[in-house]
Subunit: 322 residues, 2 copies
């Protein structure tokens, strides 16, 4: 018989959040630790074990955990290995699912963070009942989780769904963290917005509130604040960003013709400032047979819960050990 | 009990080929009629019925047909409707699966021609045993059929897999038959190769055997003949074409991380002339985690049989009517 709880873990480059989740998708308890604090992966796992065990005990959940699901950068669903994630403190391939499973004595499944978010959205969020949708996460980077015929797309090697690394500028594209140039992520992430701000301020000479900021440390939040205050150049930065994303989404539709794109992550807090240019560019660029069919919508999940819930849903997939 | 045969029909803008196929994928008999001959869809269906019935009777297959599978441009698997196919003589939506089914008294399933080719390749060709691959058809246009988790990708509306209409040139792109500009199809189809030849001949002034041809009527076959004869400019046309396709395939991998791309259609007869630049551009452009993992291969099916076999495989999907 299945046990009543699962653990969801969302590993980011800075923080790792975790929670105990019941079968209805209620986060019973949650907390977090610093990922960056540990240069040695074993120290990281030790602290994670200590903290999660504390929360399990405090909630009378010892012996009642069915499985552990983890969303982590560059995590491979098939192998359980995290492979060379550029934003994590540990280098080389890490057999993370096995390490966690052994430490806790509980079966563990991992997938990348954007896939975990997509699973969360399908199970508890805006994509409930959808069999074909694409989740786009707009944070420090751009991630994606693709669902087709009601199934996550993992690809033949477990690494499908890296839409942040589709090339949107074939010539003179920006350098991306992946080592190539012109990736979607270099334009449509929070850091991409900040780069656009710096570029616009350098090559143009019109007035802008953004000129009051230190150009080297401008953030997407600064651009948002200025745009909300009516700044024309700041608004144009969102138009530029949204247009590139809308054009890219139009191309993605030619692949899997999804019922919806669900957008998630920090940049979506900009609301219509980013959504309007995305929708406009999408409808203008999408192939005729797809026009007016695909929804572009915001995630319905609380950002703090979404990743934990998404990861936790994997915890129900583990084989029953009783 | 299933009957021993299916009918496969491959409807093209010019010809419609059909065949009787047994459960082992043997084409028992085949023939074709002219699609273009009939301005009225009902006349077309009448001739198709007469000719197929003749072949059925000649092969003692009356009453032994399980189902009819059809590959046709812009055909929707879910609805059975052909929607505004630009290369067919009939305008507006045509409920083709129902019309055929009623005329023959046999259940019928349709899908677009590239999907039919992918099903054929998965069932009988180079993609046997693969659960994740992408079929790219390089003919008058560029089509695609995508298989993920062992299933055809139809999308929420039945129109997924139009990779020929992904935008590869965002600025100053060529006008495409779909009404937009910069589509992959405008560069990497047989007609795209001919357009590249005309462009190169106009903007350059180096020697080429291609200058002996009437520039307005140059075909991809002419470019092939000149390249094989050692013509430098003709070879560069294939390099240009293959590079654009290789770059596009690298982006497609970021979507579904397929085990293989299977290339099919007239342009693939150019062999290494086109395959070498495709493979080179692919490996150069694909994201690091995918490097060296995905095969780019040629279809293993005879072009004349592939479409009939692929379409016929749909004939086995019909519900048993006995």
């Amino acid at each position: 018989m299945a046990k009543p709880y699962v653990i969801g873990i969302d590993m980011g480059g800075t923080n790792t959040a975790f929670g105990i989740v019941d079968a209805r998708g209620n986060v019973i308890a949650s907390d977090s630790i610093k990922t960056v604090k540990h240069a040695d992966i074993n120290d990281y796992i030790d602290e994670l074990h200590t903290e999660i065990t504390r929360v399990i005990t405090a909630n009378d959940a010892a012996g009642k955990i069915q499985g552990i699901g983890i969303g982590a950068p560059n995590a491979n669903y098939y192998t359980g290995i995290i492979e060379d994630a550029p934003n994590l403190p540990w280098k080389g391939p890490i057999p993370f699912a096995n390490m966690i499973s052994e430490k806790f004595g509980i079966p563990c499944i991992i997938t990348n963070d954007a896939n975990a978010a997509a699973i969360g959205e399908m199970t508890y969020g805006a994509a409930r009942g959808m069999k074909d949708f694409i989740m786009i996460t707009l944070g420090t980077g751009v991630g994606s989780g693709i669902v087709i015929n009601g199934q996550m797309v993992y690809g033949h090697d477990g690494f499908a769904g890296e839409l942040g690394h589709v090339i949107v500028k074939r010539t003179n594209g920006r350098v991306c963290g992946c080592g190539r140039t012109g990736c979607l992520e270099a334009y449509c992430s929070a850091t991409g917005v900040a780069r656009t701000a710096r570029e616009f301020l350098e090559i143009r000479d019109d007035e802008s509130k953004l000129r009051n900021y230190d150009i080297e440390s401008i953030t997407s939040k600064d651009v948002y604040d200025c745009a909300i205050a009516g700044d024309k150049l700041a608004k144009e930065i969102f138009d530029y960003t949204g247009t590139i994303l809308g054009e890219a989404l139009a191309d993605f539709t030619a692949f899997s013709s999804p019922e919806a794109f669900v957008l998630f992550g920090g940049l979506t807090k900009s609301g219509d400032l980013i959504m309007n240019p995305i929708k406009e560019a999408y409808e203008k660029n999408v192939l005729g047979i797809y026009k007016g069919k695909t929804k572009i919508m915001l995630s319905e999940m609380k950002e703090s819960d979404a990743a934990i819930l998404g990861a936790s849903a994997l915890g129900w997939e583990v084989k029953d050990t009783d």
